[in-house]
């Protein structure tokens, strides 16, 4: 049984379809990512999945139970890390876990026995009695992650888990998340960080304008949607250069400001040409998920 199955999901605010018919299914023990620009419908999808808002149409099965009809029972088997920290500022680290565990109706003894291990997992073993106000942003995030595991969930849902964290703190969160599938926990996360998605997700769906525009493993998406190599050409003349020469060397190219992105299967002829050009610099690299993302969702700002 899949930890989560979504089919034909639609949600409308006013006349606007925020989710315009999406479907995906998670396999046990995998990490699945919902990737998309701001306003793509990621958070709304999570709210529907958790039964916190009523969809216009669609079927959701969470932990084997229909949502929203049995959302309450389904949520008992799910952990949630929200986008904004909402730890209880008046409590210590350990009290936060204790109080949260009670919301699941867990016996006091069970909760207390889980706390030391969860604090260890979050790297907060020595801070059980510390007040939340004294924690750094990264520590709060890790505690929120530990809190989401208090009910030993089958599925962990994370909404942009590392937004606002510094690189050290992000890496520590990633390391913790990578360990979860081995513990049998399935992970559903939203992000707009490509490196995060590429590192963590076994499979992902790219969401834009409320639709899934591509779905698959990160390397499959790269193979399916984009040429394997990218040459970025920089300089004041990059746009002019691209207009006259790029088509001769690249299967596809895009100009954004003073950068020309050339997507190629064989980079050598282009590189040989570029070494002879004056006033242009370039970077040659393998294609990545960000290239796929920008190809599928465009380069315009989403605000």
């Amino acid at each position: 049984m899949a930890p989560l199955r979504v089919a034909g999901l639609r949600k409308r605010y006013g006349a606007h379809d925020v989710i315009a018919g999406i479907g995906f299914e998670l396999a046990r023990g995998e990490c699945f990512g919902l990737l998309g620009p701001n306003g793509a419908g990621k958070t709304t999808t999570l709210r529907c999945v958790l039964g916190l808002t009523q969809p216009l149409a669609g079927e959701i099965t969470l932990a084997g139970l229909p949502v929203p009809q049995q959302a309450r029972a389904a949520r008992a088997r799910v952990g949630v890390v929200p986008q904004t920290d909402n730890l209880d500022p008046d409590f210590s680290v350990a009290e936060n876990l204790l109080v949260y565990g009670r919301y699941f109706g867990l016996p006091e003894r069970t909760i207390r026995s889980r706390i030391p291990e969860l604090l260890e997992f979050a790297g907060l073993g020595a801070r059980a009695q510390t007040s939340i106000r004294e924690l750094s942003g990264g520590m709060k995030r890790r505690l929120t992650l530990a809190r989401a595991l208090i009910n030993e969930p089958e599925l962990l849902v994370l909404d942009e888990p590392t937004t606002g964290l510094d690189p050290q703190a992000r890496h520590l969160i990633w390391e913790r998340l990578k360990g979860l599938p081995q513990r049998g926990v399935t992970v559903l996360l939203t992000t707009h960080f490509m490196d995060e998605a590429e590192r963590l997700c076994h499979r992902l769906a790219i969401l834009d304008g409320g639709r899934i525009v591509a779905q698959g493993a990160p390397h499959e998406l790269i193979e399916a949607h984009i040429e394997p190599q990218v040459v970025e050409v920089y300089g004041e003349n990059a746009a002019n250069w691209a207009g006259t020469h790029a088509a001769g060397y690249a299967a596809r190219f895009e100009v954004s400001g003073e950068t020309a992105y050339c997507y190629v299967s064989q980079a050598e002829p282009l590189l040989a040409h570029l070494t002879r050009q004056v006033g242009l610099r370039y970077l040659h690299r393998p294609a990545n998920l960000e290239d796929v993302f920008l190809k599928l969702t465009g380069r315009e700002l989403r605000e």
Partner: protein, 277 residues
């Protein structure tokens, strides 16, 4: 766990069904963990909180009661301070419930996002709003007890009937917590609460017989007082503290209970509209 009530996403014909904000509340003991959360926060600050809630009404009661009371003959068949003590118990209970249901609940809902965290667990908004209601009433109950204790200690009331004020102030707390939560679930920010105080709480206090008998008011205002919950609370508390049975107990209790029974489902519906869209 689940109540098993089914809310279909679509009806049989495939047309979308709107989330029914005005569905009647599902009452259950699941509110207890949320109540305990609020209690745990309060316990950390219990002594300053009780003293803070006690100081203000005591200053008014003793200051006006003894100061102004010297200028007055008997009011309502008792010394002015005895008259004032019944009003003070109800007035402080109302205030404590109102402040908790407005400012504290709003910060849990909107500022600290505590409600969001709780809604991600098996608890539903029905449990959460019920917990806030009972919590605000519990806190105001403690505040009312503190005032009663002072009244007893000063010998302002010595009748066993005054024990009936205990259930009364819990009901008063529930009614004003319900009204307060309605305002909170509508409020865009803390500033909004000022309207509630200046347009409702403050005028009601002056019209409800807290500081002077309602009979002193012009007839139109006396009529208006008949629908004000605080007036009914005072009508019950005053004779109980003086040691005789109140008249028309059922009417007074029914009005207070009526406010509660209407306010809680409305507050819950407003909360659903605000948080579950």
């Amino acid at each position: 766990m689940s109540s098993g009530k089914i809310h279909p996403t679509r009806d049989a014909g495939g047309a979308p069904v709107r989330e029914d904000s005005f569905r009647f509340p599902r009452l259950s003991l699941r509110f207890v963990p949320v109540w305990r959360r609020n209690f745990l926060v309060w316990r950390k600050l219990a002594i300053p909180s009780i003293l803070g809630n006690l100081a203000d009404p005591m200053i008014y009661m003793l200051g006006l009661g003894y100061g102004l009371g010297r200028l007055l003959p008997e009011v309502g068949g008792a010394s002015y301070i005895v008259f004032l003590s019944a009003g003070t118990v109800c007035f402080s209970t109302m205030n404590a419930a109102t402040f908790e249901a407005l400012y504290s609940a709003f910060s849990r809902m909107q500022v600290q996002r505590t409600w969001d965290a709780i809604l991600n667990t098996p608890l539903a908004l029905d449990d959460l709003v019920l917990a806030e209601l009972i919590w605000a009433a519990s806190k105001s109950f403690l505040s009312g007890i503190a005032i009663l204790a002072v009244i007893w200690a000063l010998g302002l009331s010595s009748s066993a009937l005054s024990l009936w004020v205990l259930p009364l102030i819990f009901l008063v707390g529930l009614a004003f917590a319900g009204l307060g939560l309605m305002v909170t679930t509508l409020a865009p920010s803390y500033d909004f609460f000022m309207y509630y105080f200046t347009l409702f709480i403050t005028p009601m206090t002056l019209l409800s017989g807290v500081f002077f008998p309602i009979e002193q008011l012009p007839a139109a205002f006396q009529a208006l007082a008949q629908v004000l919950p605080l007036a009914h609370a005072v009508e019950l508390a005053r004779p109980l503290l003086l040691g005789h049975a109140p008249d028309a107990v059922f009417v007074h209790v029914a009005v207070l209970a009526g406010y509660l029974v209407v306010a809680y489902p409305v507050a819950l519906a407003l909360a659903r509209r605000r948080l579950l869209q």
